[in-house]
Symmetry: D2
Subunit: 343 residues, 4 copies
Amino acid sequence: MRDPRNIAVLGVSGYTGFELATLLLHHPAVTQSTFYMRETNGHQCLSELFPQLRARGEAPLRPLSLEAITASAAGTAFLATPHEVSAELAPRLLDAGLRVIDLSGAFRFSTPDTFTSWYSLPVPHAARLGEAVYGLPELYADQIRGAKLVANPGCYATSVILPLRPLAEADLIAPLQNVICDCKSGATGAGKDPRRDLHFAEVDENFRAYNLFSHRHTPEILEHTGLPESQVVFTTHLLPVARGILSTIYVSLASKQTPESIEQLYRQYYAAKRMVRIWPAGNLPELQHVANTNFSDIGFALDAQGRRLVLVSCLDNLGKGAAGQAIQNLNLMLGIEEHTGLL
Amino acid sequence: MRDPRNIAVLGVSGYTGFELATLLLHHPAVTQSTFYMRETNGHQCLSELFPQLRARGEAPLRPLSLEAITASAAGTAFLATPHEVSAELAPRLLDAGLRVIDLSGAFRFSTPDTFTSWYSLPVPHAARLGEAVYGLPELYADQIRGAKLVANPGCYATSVILPLRPLAEADLIAPLQNVICDCKSGATGAGKDPRRDLHFAEVDENFRAYNLFSHRHTPEILEHTGLPESQVVFTTHLLPVARGILSTIYVSLASKQTPESIEQLYRQYYAAKRMVRIWPAGNLPELQHVANTNFSDIGFALDAQGRRLVLVSCLDNLGKGAAGQAIQNLNLMLGIEEHTGLL
Amino acid sequence: MRDPRNIAVLGVSGYTGFELATLLLHHPAVTQSTFYMRETNGHQCLSELFPQLRARGEAPLRPLSLEAITASAAGTAFLATPHEVSAELAPRLLDAGLRVIDLSGAFRFSTPDTFTSWYSLPVPHAARLGEAVYGLPELYADQIRGAKLVANPGCYATSVILPLRPLAEADLIAPLQNVICDCKSGATGAGKDPRRDLHFAEVDENFRAYNLFSHRHTPEILEHTGLPESQVVFTTHLLPVARGILSTIYVSLASKQTPESIEQLYRQYYAAKRMVRIWPAGNLPELQHVANTNFSDIGFALDAQGRRLVLVSCLDNLGKGAAGQAIQNLNLMLGIEEHTGLL
Amino acid sequence: MRDPRNIAVLGVSGYTGFELATLLLHHPAVTQSTFYMRETNGHQCLSELFPQLRARGEAPLRPLSLEAITASAAGTAFLATPHEVSAELAPRLLDAGLRVIDLSGAFRFSTPDTFTSWYSLPVPHAARLGEAVYGLPELYADQIRGAKLVANPGCYATSVILPLRPLAEADLIAPLQNVICDCKSGATGAGKDPRRDLHFAEVDENFRAYNLFSHRHTPEILEHTGLPESQVVFTTHLLPVARGILSTIYVSLASKQTPESIEQLYRQYYAAKRMVRIWPAGNLPELQHVANTNFSDIGFALDAQGRRLVLVSCLDNLGKGAAGQAIQNLNLMLGIEEHTGLL
């Protein structure tokens, strides 16, 4: 008998997996968490791998084995695995009756073409793509509640879709002007595997742009804002900080607005959404306001003519951008308060 | 008898003044440098203030006094002083026969109105505004060579004008689309005075936008690119690094281009300009490539349609953005190789 | 009628006050927290001052007034105020029947002489010095439970006393050899007031020693380890990180030991102390293991002869080194689990 | 015919190799520098590998080949290669008539036993160990001038030997007390190869001790201070900065001293040594004072009894700790001013 509050976490060696572990070990509604990874090196406990998790109980660590997971009472699985691994594992977990929250990009798109063209990977999971719900709770809470398979959004995509969606729905984005998304992320967003360009001395006191016109989060942004690719420029940069994304987004408005009208639009749109915080006109959120939280903060500045809007969107790439949002999705799937274990 | 290679530096307590001192003490064509500051606290030598300058000779430090300066043989003065102080001092130094390179914003505009509206300061120097040459050597070398008064450009302005000017001259900027200048600077750009928002713990692991639609470098950008204010959005951010500016600039092109045509345009425009380095298509400069140098590096990416161009412009805000550029101007005024003491 | 779970916090503008606020707003046993500061600038809510605390309820912010505090039902007061302010306020709060946890150095010593000689401040609180309990819960839990006035220890002192005390009690410190305490702290330990030497660019990429043979935490270390001043060398350094202390402590042992005997000594001494974590021989704690926690981690290395011991002690200067430890003391005074709200 | 000013650099992919390249390209007495590395990936120019070196001339880059080097006119070779590679290459270069400056640890010891026991590597170079001169110019300038083979010292060792040697020669180190060397280094000291523990997010906001009682620089320290292993404790830590070493060294003095006597001892000992700067009593050097320089700065504090001395020694691990010192050795070998190209 599967217990949805009994959790299996697959993949725990990266930054996202660690953040997920930290949140789950503090979560009041989770009855059991078991962690699976390919190489356990004989460790039996998560805290042997991460000493800083000692004193929060000794969560079991197990070699990754689908048999072991399906034989357990786990009812919900998190996949903090690479795209291609998630593509293989998720269908088999679903077949075994578990509900799945996948933190990779494997299930974020409805068509195999989008996945193959942006990720250059095979599509063993093509048959299940249509089943997945895009796990952005502020937009799709109803579908997430009943979903068997949730595709947790990309960190950059979350930081861009949340501020753009209310404008798009209100038809406030001028159609012939580019929407510029100038995004900056901390280094944990690039993963934990050793890479020369992620060596401390290559990031410290440095700043660089990367993946121009080619970042994999692009198709998520297009699909969930409804904007055409020809209208969006999405640029990413690497900040010398461990965590956090700040996106500066430039929009030409279809009609003249005031700071008050913009603030009101956002306040209304996100009125019941506790994890999105709208900043008052004239104030801007900073990375430090969202570090180590699940909040997504949105502020803005409007030019004197009321036609050019600059949005500043901040979140923690490991929180609202990954593990925190995954927990928010879990809460919806469990039918409990959306922010349980996240404040 | 004034000796143009005998230098007086007014204001040496800030980061720009220190950088200027370092460069002057290494400069092969400078015969004497004397440093003046309001409060010397009895120090007689610059190295008493900055122990790291020991072993490079003992440059004299003097209380700031116009009498002392004009009584000396100094032929060239650098003003590394606040805007309002430069506005007061420069005319008197000019009257005494010195040539002046001012690193503040006081003389960067031809009309008093621009200065008062953007700086909210009085204009005791209104009569001299017309005499000043804007000290961007790649654009105005001829005028700088003969100038009595050079207004050293703003750091952000330099990083934006250098990449935009060739496009503007070639009429490649589409007239009805916004030019977005998303700029990021290290903390020395904000000066050395203690401020709560510049406390280490407020900048470290943080990132923030500031001065949206109101930054003082805006009028320089407009004047030297020829773009109207209605077409330019200029946003500044504070990076958790000590030095460096990276500006990401978004331009809609008036005609379809190829990576090759763009690269060629820049290579031709800056062919004889050693301090501007054009990166090959497909490669982007990073902050670390220009730190502690006087180089301004420009790279770009072009979308597949050849219509949307993203420029990445890097420089050291204390080098090419301030003290280095001031030395480059000095070299022009002395009639020697532009890059003397800067490589 | 005073309610001990109704809390007044005096002083909330610094890093310690903010950390205290964060912990109190999450504390399950606290019924009410009211924050007092000298200048509220019209703010009524803590979250107006600290936007990142929004969504955790709107804690009241009030101008600092002893009348207001004593007129309220608050039963426990935290003083996150400067030494001289605490010295003035604590006696008056005690007289009004509140229990007081003071985070300054004012009440850490039993004699006025120690305070005046190390702090160079007047002693208006001389009469109450004897009443204060030194708030190091691992050593003095019984006294803290019944205390009216608790002096929360210094951050460096906590990081040094916890590893040295078990050795001292076991008479393992060789009497004629110096005990070297080489301590390194993040910048929040120096307070939040703007200071030129705490400017981002003065701490970033820098590292420095300060206050040699003169640091104010010295007398705490001497008193609670029982070592004479002639045997202890205590040196402090500023790390380019926001939070955390790592102390490397060198001890010559009075008798030959093995890694096992040392590990066992520490495990036994701190067996029931959940907030102190002993690392297995051969492993050393790092700053990142304790950041944003209330843990104090202790590891060690022993030379091949078993006579020279190097201890590595880590804690978060704002957690176990200040606000976290203050909450731990509150828990003891409330008669609840010591680590409530701290895991 | 070999030209000693024609330089071959073997190994240029690491941080030390890059620093060496930068210094050589600015060196006024070097007539030619050619760079050799195992994998050139078809690059012909050093600036193709390091774009930031453009505009300083186009130094040739060649695949590493002993034949090519010995066939060239190069008279001096720098080895910026791993220990085992230097051990193989140096003898063959010496046989071909080049003078060699090796930056690895391969030739720092007179006996093969020391090398094998600390480095756990074979000793193909055993026969040449006796020929090498330890390249610490402040101590061994005369031998270096005539040397065929110079072993450039370890970065930590340099920072410890320079402050301890004057005390040792003056018999001021109390024989029965430990000399504690608590050393902290920036991340470039650990090399450039990708390693999980050098990922930006593992160093940033972190600090850790490593290699206690086992660091490979220990035997250099013992040999050149003359202290027995039983008296020295040498501990290393990783700082979250790119470059710089600060060593805090604790010495019990054999006789009572005053700040004046200590300062005088150091000033006399290093009177003619321009690259060592003694700080006045009461002032301490910081990492920022030596970053990007070849200076080694020494400051101190003495306790009130005049018996316990704390030394603070700072240098740049890539400057005086590696490439800078190698250039200083080159200058001695060329018979020119020791600090040529280093100020």
